[in-house]
Symmetry: C2
Subunit: 175 residues, 2 copies
Amino acid sequence: MEVEVLRLTHRYVRDERITTHLFLTARAFGASKVIYTGQRDEKMEEKIGKVTKNWGGPFTIEYEKDWKQTIMRWKARKGEIIHLTFYGLPIQNVIQDIRESRKNTLIIVGGAKVPGIIYKLSDWNVSVTSQPHSEISALSVFLHELFQGRELLKIFKNAKLKIIPQPRGKKVLDL
Amino acid sequence: MEVEVLRLTHRYVRDERITTHLFLTARAFGASKVIYTGQRDEKMEEKIGKVTKNWGGPFTIEYEKDWKQTIMRWKARKGEIIHLTFYGLPIQNVIQDIRESRKNTLIIVGGAKVPGIIYKLSDWNVSVTSQPHSEISALSVFLHELFQGRELLKIFKNAKLKIIPQPRGKKVLDL
């Protein structure tokens, strides 16, 4: 099962840190690709590329002018589309059905204003709590539930750096 | 079991959105209080206060000049101190021991530069993946694992707004 993340309406400078955290979360929790619309942000793309170069992949980032293109391509591939929104159905009620479909999955994460049609084009509108918090938390917990914790054991390929977990202090291998 | 979150070295303006997401995550995933050091940020405190007023609590935010004070108080209360760091022991290896201790828990989330002594003063240094991503993801997945998903069912008191989950579209109750 392949998982990609689509971030809508990224705003240059203003959203840089939030979208960077979101995309690093996507990578660390098992997605293979992130796509974003809104304002092109080469500085952010470089940051993500650098992390993948140092810590391994495969992981790619892509800019797309129009989210409709991404969704159409995804529909043509017969993949499943999940939209994370705090208005959606509770993750604990739907995650098993989503897991069992075993389809390639596109996870849509909203930006400043989500067009109403996204709710209709998505196969599932899913909430991770019905409380306001962060798209970063929503994505991490969703992926953690989708992969049932197996993502924590993921081995990244071609990494130059690797952490050796320690009870106290820091240990990084330079490979 | 009471859970509080200590965020180190918050930087005014620069960290506003990240710390706001972090604190809203703490609230949504079951912590009762957040404390931060670094630069005082009244705008951020107001934001958090407003969310709690609208969406319920109890949840408080506190500024502390010196993190040593918070840690000393916590040690005196005989609570457990968890430091989230990607250098630490994998969550999947330690979470059961942490859960079973059933102690009140202070979760430390680093900022720009974490003093080495934090690693020593903490009972556990815990990593959520050994990959670079986001303190927001680390906190959400840690709390989700600590509470074993029960946090998703949490009922907030004195809420003015409440979402009624929908398969498509939005429904908010104004209480």
